[in-house]
């Protein structure tokens, strides 16, 4: 027959099969893709591990912080993680916030009847260990498990906070990029013709702008902040994706089910939203992890160059640049490098698995 091809995953072979051999309704296309994804062991476990790491980093204040989680002092409970207490509260001399690493305060809190529960790693991202036993940067020790950087801040705390900043930034950048890219691609692809032509020329001009120089110029004019970085990178980040979405829309809009919907009088918005978009999402979803890893890398490189987050924000890029400046302090560059590699590797494994799971040529089993 013309178009002789088996229905992908067709289960009802005979047109009028008996009732007995009819299987139960099969899952939705999304569920089938998820099942295929789950069969990719490496990608699936990467997803699990990555999710756990992200969840942990979201609660990083409970894991790595210079403030105790709970303090019992002279018969009263204090929650320094949530509230700031002046030093006087614990018998100190000043009205400023308590430095819980101060040996005097520590001594106060260990007196009989008093106690304090510290987080696993008793340093925050900006905590400077004034009481370190070795000069900065100090090598890994019992006090600072991964050592300190050249300003005396705990490296482990920096890495965890830096990881959180990177991942959240990447998530935000990916989300904005995907929304913009899909919208732009959908408009170009669905309407085609002159709209498409105008948009394409605009993208060519826009894409030819020197992104890095713009970033340098803008960070010189405006005060650097994560928000600014997000806006600037988003302005350029949507273009790659919009091309794929546009191509999918161009293909799908002339399929018979779209023609059929038009003949039915279905409004344009609904055709785009219900008919074409769900069938055009494969490249979008496939690229998600790769876009995330690209965003992590972008932030890291900009920080490395000093164009990224404002000074004092924990950042992997800034740590790498410290590692470069203190090449003998191997613990800085090595551990930062390790965190970066792990993050990017997990994202890549997820991306590979996702690509295989969404490959239409793959069978279910």
């Amino acid at each position: 027959m013309p178009g002789e091809r088996p229905a992908p995953g067709a289960t009802l072979a005979a047109p009028h099969g008996s009732a007995a051999d009819v299987p139960a309704p099969s899952p939705t296309p999304a569920r089938r893709a998820w099942r295929r994804f789950r069969r990719q062991r490496l990608g699936f476990w990467s997803l699990i591990l990555f999710s756990v790491l992200v969840l942990l980093s979201l609660a990083v204040e409970l894991i790595s912080n210079d403030k105790p989680l709970l303090v019992r002092y002279q018969g009263q409970f204090y929650v320094p993680v949530l509230t700031s207490y002046p030093e006087k509260t614990f018998g100190g001399d000043f009205d400023t916030e308590t430095d819980y690493l101060d040996p005097f305060i520590r001594a106060q809190l260990t007196q009989p009847g008093n106690w304090a529960i510290y987080p696993l790693n008793p340093y925050g991202a900006k905590t400077i260990n004034y009481f370190a036993e070795a000069p900065n940067p100090s090598a890994p020790s019992r006090q600072n498990w991964l050592g300190t950087d050249d300003r005396g801040r705990d490296l482990l705390a920096q890495l965890i906070y830096g990881f959180r900043v990177s991942v959240l930034f990447a998530l935000a950048l990916t989300t904005v990029g995907v929304v913009l890219g899909v919208a732009a691609g959908a408009v170009q692809g669905y309407f085609g013709g002159k709209t498409d032509l105008a948009f394409q020329r605009f993208i060519e001009i826009w894409g030819a702008m020197p992104e890095l120089y713009l970033l340098i110029i803008f960070s010189a004019i405006l005060s650097p902040s994560i928000g600014l970085l997000l806006v600037l990178l988003s302005l350029f980040g949507w273009m790659g994706l919009s091309d794929y979405v546009r191509a999918e829309f161009l293909r799908n809009r002339q399929l018979d089910y779209v023609k059929g919907a038009r003949a039915m009088g279905v409004p344009t918005r609904r055709i785009i939203w219900r008919h074409i978009l769900p069938n055009s999402m494969t490249p979008v979803v496939t690229f998600l992890p790769f876009r995330m890893s690209a965003a992590v890398l972008a932030l890291t490189s900009l920080d490395f160059l000093g164009l990224g987050v404002p000074p004092g924000t924990p950042s992997l890029g800034e740590l790498l640049s410290q590692g470069k400046n203190n090449i003998d302090a191997w613990w800085i560059s090595l551990s930062t490098f390790g965190v970066l590699v792990l993050t990017l590797l997990l994202l890549t494994f997820m991306g590979d698995a996702l690509r295989d799971a969404l490959d239409p040529r793959r069978a279910d089993t």
């Binding site: 002789e4 296309p29 003949a263 008919h275």
Partner: protein, 536 residues
Amino acid sequence: MTAPLLQVEDLQVAFGAKTVVGGVGFSIARGEKLALVGESGSGKTVTALALLRLLHDARISGRALFHDGGQTRDLLALPERALRGLRGDDIAMIFQEPMTALNPLMTVGEQIAEVLRLKRALAGSQAWDNAIELLAKTGIPEARRRADAYPHQLSGGQRQRAMIAMALACEPKLLLADEPTTALDVSLRGQILDLLGDLQRENGMAVLMITHDLNLVRRFADRVAVMQRGRLVEQGATAEIFAAPRHAYTQKLMASKPERDLVDTPPTPGATPALGARGLRVAYPTPLPGLRGWFRKGQFVALQGADFSLPPGRTLGVIGESGSGKSTLAQAALGLLPRPLVTGEVSVAGRHWQLRPTADKPLRRVAQVVFQDPFSSLSPRMTVEEIVGEGLLVHAPELPASERATRVRQALADVGLEETRFPGLLARYPHEFSGGQRQRIALARALIVGPELLVLDEPTSALDVTIQKQVLALLQRLQKERGLAYLLITHDVDVVRAMAHDVIVLKDGAVVEGGSASQVLGAPRHPYTQKLLAAA
């Protein structure tokens, strides 16, 4: 009977745990034409590919003894190197779709010459001359010039001829032809078939023809083998099988010609036609070559001067080959073409398309469509309920969800899909259904809004013959029950014969002949119509 050339014994092919072909055995004598017949999924193509071991990830067992030059070799047991020597040399293959089987980056002459250089060890210029000779032999006009053409520059028929020339380059003993005419227009099919027949006689080669087209088999083959679900159910001489098919499945296949079962009352004079066209013309802008193209656009006229009127409750058949403007006509009738392309008048139930969403909404309910390819006409990510119920969302948004589901169920039941047979029917996705079932869903989707006119764009040409018969019978029943008017677009004369009250014939965008079905199909006046009917 002469000595067998190929003896296949107990051939089994399995992909993973699924056995696709089981226990198939047949033999082909020297110079014999054997047709392997069956519906899609019956394992015919897999059988042929298995003989040359061209299948990936397949487990093949059994024997395929190739007797040639006093020696007997088992194709399924030969080492890969030896088999590669046989392929193309002693056994050649031609495929259904010549566009994908030819390399688009090489001229056809080069491709044929390459085969000759590889297999016959001919020198460059000699191979080239031979290639041109072969092309000429397959009836390509101006073979010397055509040899320099790339596949996309040739017409469909010429491409298929070029592929045959390539397959015959080494004068194979056996030719495996996998649906060699299916992708071609009806009038070309006969020519290609005659060509194959001539070359077969000339070279004394055997042909294993894989096809679903019984007309073709009757015309071409000496013997027939019928396959069903991976098994050979019957084989024998063509005349015998056609005269007295023994197996039930063969009988069903033979009886699958669509039957005419229509209410044929003359239309009430003066009734508003369900679909009317006057001076309908559709032209697409095309780029002009050279500098002129910067300032002006050329025009490709896809359809012109179409005048017809389709009264309610009747069927207007539109026949023509690919590129004749049939599908353009369908789109114009449905008001899907933007205004600048269309001139002339189209009216649906007496009203004209405004080409504005709100103004056209009432008409969109009246005119509905069913497309050819049931694989692309249903959105793969929507459930049956969403697909069928969509029309209600647009045209009866006030209905509560429960009432909508009831109507969806009813519409599906009307086309023969009952929830008792498919538990959870509404929540299923299109990929779970076969082609015929999908076509029923597409029909339910159109019928749910209560249309008066259905545009059927090749509604059965992607379906197997037995399924086609069922779907056509369903369409006839629905027409009788609801007084639907059909605009039936097809290239299949049998379908028109069974379905149409009136017929128009399209060629290159123009209506060359029109009239009642009996008149046009019984006594065609235009030579093109005569040619079409003769080929069918």
